[in-house]
């Protein structure tokens, strides 16, 4: 048990790291190698005041989110299909393994050839998120309580009601863990793809320009922006999931994510 409230402890920890960062920047004494937190915040303030930055944020966030939503729906659909029809799962398995193991950079080059730079982050965030959702959907459905399923069979409970109760409840913790993992991955890889493809008016382009001009302050400012946006998106999406699918799910502490 801690002596201080949760928020004050978290703030103190954050301040500790910011202080350490500040000390490190003072020690390095080189704005290109390591910019201090105050300079990074100044650069962030400049960016927030610029409509172009908001445009870049919207460009990247919109595309990465679109790829994420598409992957979420597709993973849910094909994961369920693989559960109900194992043959379909076997057919999909090589494609899932392929997506898991091929480096994101290879996909980025391929996507540049196929679709051009503009929709690159849609494609990449889809490819990164989809296997995680597919695998966890399959795992969650497979872990439905066999005792409850037998009970439902004896009482002749319609399949749709079983799906909305027994399967939904077993799926929820897996999906929640999968989302926590894949939301961050989707954003990171989407932005990384933009840095390689450099679509005009994107955060990736902003990061690329920061590299060209050796503007570490801008790099940090963009990074802070990405972290903030992806955290808000993650919290909102998890809240949405809880509202839609979390009813009747007993509290679970353990991590359910199937390894991907």
């Amino acid at each position: 048990m801690h002596r201080f409230p949760d928020w004050s402890r978290r703030t103190a920890i954050l301040l500790f790291w910011l202080f350490l960062w500040h000390l490190a920047s003072l020690a390095v004494q080189n704005q290109i190698l390591l910019v201090g937190p105050l300079d990074a915040l100044k650069a962030l303030a400049v960016q927030l005041a610029s409509p172009a930055s908001w445009g870049a944020l919207w460009f990247s966030f919109g595309r990465i989110s679109l790829g994420f939503f598409m992957a979420f729906l597709a993973g849910l659909l094909t994961g369920s299909l693989a559960f109900w029809k194992p043959l379909a799962g076997e057919i999909l398995e090589p494609a899932i393994q392929f997506m898991k193991s091929v480096p994101v950079a290879s996909f980025v080059i391929l996507a540049l050839i196929w679709t051009g730079a503009e929709n690159l982050s849609v494609f990449i965030s889809f490819l990164v998120v989809y296997p995680v959702i597919h695998i966890n959907t399959l795992a969650g459905l497979s872990h439905a309580d066999p005792g409850l399923l037998e009970m439902a069979r004896v009482f002749r409970v319609p399949v749709w009601r079983q799906a909305l109760s027994i399967y939904r409840i077993s799926l929820y913790p897996y999906l929640e863990s999968a989302l926590k993992t894949s939301l961050g991955m989707g954003f990171k890889s989407g932005i990384a793809a933009e840095v390689i493809g450099v679509p005009g008016g994107s955060i990736g382009e902003g990061l690329y320009m920061a590299k060209i001009y050796l503007s570490t302050a801008d790099l940090f400012a963009w990074t802070l922006m990405i972290i903030a946006v992806s955290s808000v998106f993650e919290k909102l999406f998890l809240l949405l999931l809880k509202t839609i699918a979390g009813n009747g799910v007993p509290g679970k502490e353990e991590n359910h994510a199937a390894s991907v």
Partner: protein, 209 residues
């Protein structure tokens, strides 16, 4: 609302045998069960009561023997474990099997006979073992079914709640085929049931067929 009882029907079990590997669980069991005549299966632990229930419910198949009279019949059950949706309330658990068969207010009124009013809004994960058992009993007796099977339904109930549960079982299974298992003759008497005994090898000792 009590369910309209079907015309009387009979289930006939003949020479039912079941083994798991070398272990003989049921040895040529024969039973005559009739709707409206509750039967109590008494047997030592491990004598095959649960296996017999599972075969009757269609969850397992017998190695040999026949069962007649189950065609088109619907089941409800109290399992050895409660098998409840832990995050759901008692009402939601019952609604899971009954659907909209009962109006919510009527179902709530029935539930209050066996569960305290302040528990109705809680998920069953917060219930005591006895309250969970009573929820499982309510679910079984309120489900629209011809055959009600109860595997040691009174486990974990104190004498008072056992009496209340027995009254509810008698009321809501009238006219249905009720088969339950217990270790206690008093439980059998509470439900006015005929006693059938399985010996430790899963053979029926009384009454003879």
């Amino acid at each position: 609302m009590l369910l309209p009882s079907d015309p009387a029907f009979r289930v006939t079990v003949r020479n039912l045998t079941k083994s798991y590997g070398d272990s003989l669980v049921l040895d040529h069991v024969s039973l005559d069960l009739e709707s409206g005549c509750p039967c109590c299966l008494m047997a030592p632990s491990g004598a095959g009561k649960t296996t017999l229930f599972r075969i009757l419910m269609g969850l397992e198949t017998a190695d040999s023997g026949t069962i007649e009279g189950l065609e088109g019949r619907s089941f409800s059950a109290v399992f050895q474990e409660d098998r409840l949706l832990e995050g759901y309330t008692a009402l939601q658990n019952i609604r899971f099997v009954t659907g909209r068969w009962y109006p919510a207010h009527e179902l709530t009124a029935i539930i209050k006979h066996l569960l305290p009013e302040d528990s109705l809004k809680k998920p069953v994960s917060e219930f005591s073992g006895g309250m969970k058992r009573r929820t499982a009993i309510l679910r079984a007796i309120l489900a629209p079914a011809d055959i009600v099977l109860m595997d040691e339904p009174f486990t974990g109930l104190d004498p008072d709640t056992k009496q209340q549960a027995a009254r509810m079982i008698n009321k809501y299974t009238a006219g249905k085929l009720l088969l339950f298992s217990t270790h206690s003759q008093e439980d059998a008497a509470l439900l006015g049931a005929e006693i059938l005994r399985l010996d430790e090898n899963g053979g029926l000792c009384s009454p003879g067929i």
